[in-house]
Amino acid sequence: MGEKKRIELDYSKIESDRMRLNVGPQHPSTHGVLRLEVELDGEIVTEVVPHIGYLHRCFEKHAEKMTYPQVIPYIDRMDYVTSMNNELPYVMAIEKMLGIEVPEKVQYIRVIMCELNRIASHQIAVATFGLDAGAFTPFLYFFRDREYILAIFEKASGARLLFNYFWIGGLAADVHPTFKEDVLAIVKQVRKTNKEIEDLLIYNKIFIERTANVGILPPDVAINYACSGPVLRGSGVKFDLRKNEPYSIYDRFDFDIPVGMGEVGTVGDCWDRNIVRMREMEQSCRIIEQAIEQMPNEGDVQEKLPKKIKPPKGDIYMRAENPKGDLGFYIVSNGTDKPERVKARGTSFVNLSVLPEISKGYMFADLILILGSIDIVLGEVDR
């Protein structure tokens, strides 16, 4: 229907009063407690200033006083919709420092859990993105499926959201006997729902009009802002840590990296970022199927560890591909059982910093969609 939407105003010719509007910290579409100070000219956004820190829980300060295993429950709470993925880089970093090889079975379970959690996270991202655009029904279809995934997590780890499942040197517990069948059933269900959502939401003309050509993030800007995950790939940059720097056992699987191609608009718009998430769900399904096939049935899930985990003196930076982008942990060890410093490079924190850059000149309703397409979780922004 409409053409290109970015409206450039020449303020030397137009005299207009601007309005400063506080979006948040309590607003239905800020996905948490984010405050955006928006300057509006009519409905057109001229400036966005994000104010964060409303959910600051001093993770890094806490981590200094915890022993290494005690930090893991805190890591769960950073990006609370992708707890499994959050734990992975941390435990990998400690394992690398200690020089532990985890058992084969553990690796496979970790990958399956991470990919399931990736699906769950992307489901929330697409669902809330639809909700921002005003479509309520797809939101609940996704949440229905997400419940099935969480049920698997609950059966394996005991918790539905904050798992504390990946431990240094292994897992907290072995998976239940029907794990493989459950996971395959979910993969089937996820594919079915995705097909339906594509018709209902993604290729809906109204949705395309709302999201295409909106919030365009060029690839060079995306890299300069160190964006990662679907935000980076939506801009057409084929970069995925699972492929480019395979960690864990991701080099054993055959999967593609979906990138934004500007099918309905320009490369790097909101629709591209969204479709990358939809397609990544399919790739995750493929990884899960391969992993289920290769996974050994027998085996221990916990490596023998000393009672007190004392990594050698030094520092390490480990990152892994989270659903939202690469999450990095910079861990400085001083040789005792407590870390000197654990710095988390929050994916959402970095991705959110690009918002003021890409939302200028669009309408206020677009700002909400751009924010939704970045897919932030305030727990990770503020930590």
């Binding site: 309005m19 509007l21 909700l131 005003g134 029904t137 109204i206 206020f364 309703a365």
Partner: protein
């Protein structure tokens, strides 16, 4: 005063008769609004594979009553910095606009509250009152979100009245009248005589069908915009404007907005029924035709369109404000002009 209104003829005292006649639509409106709220809750729930309200009464059918009771009990807040007279007046003005439309809606050939001969014109006139209430409420709230919502609403309703009016005008052309009763009578004799198929006349009227179909769709879309329903609910725009023009309202005043929205939904559904879908007429010719059946057919047809509106709401995302203008001015308006032109030509040739 000559009238076909049976209540008027039943009661000898004129004043009492008028009061009774005006109260009947109000009672109907309240009952309908409760049903529509229940319908909205249940249909949205079933579409989303939920059960919906289940606790109040069997299958939760008393839920709307519980909600009304809750809203009455709630504290009626008025913001400190609001313009109080306007703030308090706005919801009632909106409701009045919706309620006034019921004056001319012919429920049956024997019950038209007030049969005036420019009924269509009247409905369009009082239907626009709602926008005044919305602007009043939005501006008086002294809230930036409300103001944005109110301003959007003005632009939206004014833009969409034109294609809507064009669609209705073509029916006026076909019926040669603005009187809703006459329009109804012109569609008597089964589904083939409805204006969506060109009204009464020879089979050559089938040439009109594509145009009346498009016009009825245009009116449906325009009416969605006028009642602020999804996909045109941008004045409320829950995800961006919190609740738009009624962000600051609570309690009974909020309930008034709510009622007015549902009342407006019925009005536009009724107008669509009357103009294109035969009004009180049975679709089977003389079968199931009569004063009692009139009410049944009219209300069930109108309810179908109300349900259609609800169904659309839980399917579609929301448009953006400039796209809304685009759809109104660049899609609906040209199409309605073209269709209107062809229908006028057809009428002239016949």
């Amino acid at each position: 005063m000559e009238t076909t209104n049976f209540v008027y003829n039943l009661i000898p005292n004129e004043t009492i008769a008028i009061i009774v006649i005006s109260v009947i639509p109000l009672i109907f409106l309240i009952v309908y609004a409760l049903l529509a709220i229940l319908g909205e809750l249940k249909i949205s729930a079933w579409i989303q594979e939920r059960l919906g309200p289940m606790r109040t009464g069997p299958w939760g059918i008393l839920q709307p009553i519980a909600e009304v009771v809750k809203l009455i009990q709630k504290e009626d807040l008025t913001p400190d910095s609001a313009n109080k007279p306007l703030f308090n007046l706005a919801p009632y003005i909106i409701f009045m606009g919706a309620y006034a439309s019921f004056a001319v809606i012919p429920f049956s050939r024997y019950f038209v509250p007030s049969g005036i001969n420019i009924g269509l014109f009247y409905i369009f006139a009082v239907g626009s009152i709602a926008v005044i209430g919305i602007v009043m409420g939005g501006w008086a709230s002294n809230n930036k979100y409300s103001l944005l919502g109110a301003m959007r609403s003005v632009a939206q309703i004014i833009s969409y009245e034109i294609p809507g009016a064009m669609a209705i005008l073509s029916v006026a052309v076909l019926a040669s009248s603005l009187d809703l009763e006459k329009i109804n009578i012109a569609q008597e004799g089964g589904i083939w005589n409805w204006f969506i198929f060109g009204g009464q006349g020879s089979w050559s009227k089938i040439w009109v069908f594509p145009f009346t179909l498009v016009l009825s769709l245009i009116y449906l879309v325009a009416s969605l915009a006028e009642t602020n329903r999804t996909p045109f609910d941008i004045p409320e725009g829950e995800s961006e404007l919190v609740a738009g023009y009624h962000t600051e309202y609570s309690g009974m005043k909020f309930a008034m907005f709510f009622f007015a929205e549902y009342a407006n939904m019925f009005v536009v559904a009724a107008v669509l029924t009357i103009t294109f879908f035969g009004g009180w007429n049975s679709p089977f010719g003389n079968f199931m035709q009569g004063p009692g059946w009139d009410v049944f057919w009219f209300i069930s047809k109108a309810f179908f369109f109300v349900i259609l509106q609800i169904w659309l709401r839980w399917t579609l995302p929301r448009l953006r404000v400039d796209q809304l203008m685009y759809v109104g001015w660049k899609v609906l308006l040209p199409f309605s002009f073209i269709c209107f032109l062809f229908i006028s030509l057809f009428k002239m040739i016949n």
